[in-house]
């Protein structure tokens, strides 16, 4: 067998093999298309759907009854509540009963978990803001729902008993200063009595 005849036979064989491979290739291509379509249905479509939801998120409103925001150590530092489900205030780790009216609130806590103050909007109306020392409220600001009564109060819970109160009631404005438990200024009215 000469080289040219051998080459011709080999070429024919190779051409035949190439044709077979082309048929196989087309078959695999069809199958892969089907696979890709199935993948698209199973994976891509949900992803696209989720993405489109994510893209649309800023236009949506998160509706919850409450949110607790914690610091890096897991201590709750901010508490948002949409109703009376306000937690009992903890001081030195112990929870006490929360007294007074309840409602929507924003409360703030220190790094040890003790309540340090917040805003409260009672269901019966009005608004109040409190700021606490280590274990008690020392500043309160409140406004009644009637629009005619409001007050500002500073008072010590440690050291000497001092207090400064300023308010407006339907009867008019008033100012009261208490030094060491004794009323030193009261307007309108007298001064010098022992503070209740």
């Amino acid at each position: 067998m000469d080289a040219r005849a051998w080459d011709g036979g080999a070429v024919a064989s190779l051409q035949c093999r190439i044709a077979e491979l082309e048929v196989e290739h087309r078959r695999l291509l069809r199958r892969s298309r089907g696979t890709w379509m199935a993948l698209g249905v199973l994976v891509v479509v949900p992803m696209v759907t989720a993405f489109s939801r994510w893209v649309g998120a800023p236009e949506e409103i998160l509706v919850v009854r409450g949110v607790d925001i914690v610091d890096a150590t897991g201590v709750k530092r901010i508490e948002l509540r949409g109703g009376p489900e306000v937690t009992d205030p903890p001081f030195y780790g112990r929870r006490f009963r929360r007294h007074g009216s309840l409602g929507a609130s924003i409360l703030f806590y220190d790094a040890g978990g003790a309540e340090q103050g917040g805003f409260l909007i009672p269901d019966r109306g009005g608004i109040s803001m409190g700021m606490d020392s280590k274990a008690n409220q020392v500043i309160s600001i409140s406004a009644a729902a009637d629009g005619r009564s409001m007050g500002l109060d500073f008072y010590t819970t440690a050291g000497e008993p001092h207090r400064a109160s300023l308010g407006i009631t339907p009867e008019g404005p008033h100012l009261r200063l208490v030094r060491n438990g004794v009323v030193v200024v009261e307007l309108p009215g007298g001064a010098g009595g022992v503070a209740r």
């Binding site: 001081f91 030195y92 780790g93 112990r94 929870r95 006490f96 009963r97 790094a111 040890g112 978990g113 003790a114 280590k134 274990a135 008690n136 010590t156 819970t157 440690a158 050291g159 008993p161």
Partner: protein
């Protein structure tokens, strides 16, 4: 013969001086190095550098003399709310906001046992006087009785809404709890009905039995003293401006020491009902303990520190024992008064040497 606090300070100061000597040598060495550098610098700069070094050395020496490292510091567990020494002095129990009660080896600080059973924050823990039982109370309204040696839960009671404090009666017959509703409840250990005492204040924050067991003291913003048998009020100790978080009778039962969030510690004469001593602190130190011999008073709270006073001279500035990283929430002397355990919201229980 027990050493007086003055001797205690002297003993610790000796150790402090050794440290101070090391520091002083360090300062000299540093100054020598500094001199070679300073030869090329202006004299004013040298003086300033030297002065700063001296101040630093002085501060370090002062801190070393006043504070100490704990003998034992535990690790693991949530923020701690109370601590109690076992009567045999070998273990310490603490309650935690993570809902567990922890038992620690008082010598090594190793966690011996975790007692789970509460479903919420635990506020108080107490050993019975014979050391057999351990009681705990918490925000879930449960009062649990444990076998202190095995950790087995023996009994449980439901207190509505929830208890803030729990103590054993000296005769070991019942547990006494102070409720957030102000009511006291006597829980019989050997069966029988729970006896409830009428609330006298908004809450019963702290409880203490007199050494003879004939008086009960309960606190909120005032202290109510009751006859332990009848529950009738025999005295009211008013004067604190805010909540009283802890109390302790002196061993002779004649005085009561109270720690309040109004930043004062007061010592009351129970015969007259008057406060005979008043310690004012910069920040509230409302958690306290009195040693079993009545000589020492330890207190801690918002400044994260543990302080010690001599009961005979409470007006003097207290001695700094050590520090935590968060509020101190409980203190307990060991039965021999040589050690002091402190619990803190930092999640730790530390045991300090009171006598070297």
């Amino acid at each position: 013969v027990r050493q007086r606090p003055g001797r205690r300070r002297a003993a610790f100061r000796t150790a402090g001086r050794a440290g101070a000597l090391g520091l002083a040598l360090g300062v000299v060495a540093a100054a020598a190095v500094g001199d070679s550098v300073a030869a090329q610098a202006e004299l004013g700069m040298i003086a300033q550098l030297s002065n700063t070094r001296t101040q630093r050395a002085n501060r370090a020496t002062q801190e070393q003399e006043t504070a100490q490292e704990p003998l034992v510091a535990t690790a693991g567990g949530g923020p701690m709310t109370s601590v109690a020494f076992a009567p045999d002095g070998r273990s310490v129990a603490s309650s935690s906001l993570d809902g567990n009660v922890y038992l620690w080896d008082a010598s090594t600080g190793e966690r011996v046992r975790v007692l789970g059973g509460h479903t919420d924050e635990v506020y108080a823990v107490a050993f019975s006087f014979d050391g057999r039982w351990l009681a705990s109370a918490g925000y879930d309204g449960q009062v649990l009785l444990w076998d202190a040696s095995s950790g087995r839960r023996v009994r449980d009671w439901r207190v509505d809404p929830w208890p803030l404090s729990v103590v054993f009666s000296p005769d070991g017959r019942h547990l006494l709890t102070g409720g957030v509703d102000g009511r006291l409840r006597m829980l019989p250990l050997n069966g029988g009905a729970v006896r409830t005492l009428r609330a006298e204040q908004r809450s019963a924050l702290a409880l203490a039995y007199s050494p003879g067991g004939d008086r009960i003291a309960e606190s909120w913003s005032a202290v109510i003293v009751r006859d332990a048998g009848t529950g009738t009020v025999v005295d009211t100790l008013a004067g604190h401006r805010f909540l009283i978080f802890s109390m302790a009778f002196t061993p002779d039962g004649t005085r009561l020491v109270t720690g309040s969030a109004d930043a004062t510690i007061r010592i009351w004469d129970l015969a007259t009902g008057a406060a005979v001593e008043r310690i004012e602190t910069r920040l509230p130190l409302p958690f306290l303990a009195v040693s079993s011999d009545g000589r020492w008073l330890a207190a801690g709270g918002a400044d994260y520190k543990v302080h010690l006073w001599e009961m005979d001279a409470p007006g003097t500035e207290g001695e700094l024992i050590g520090t935590h990283d968060r509020d101190v929430t409980g203190l307990a002397f060991s039965p021999d008064d040589r050690r002091l355990a402190s619990s803190s919201l930092d999640g730790g229980v530390k045991i300090w040497a009171i006598l070297p």
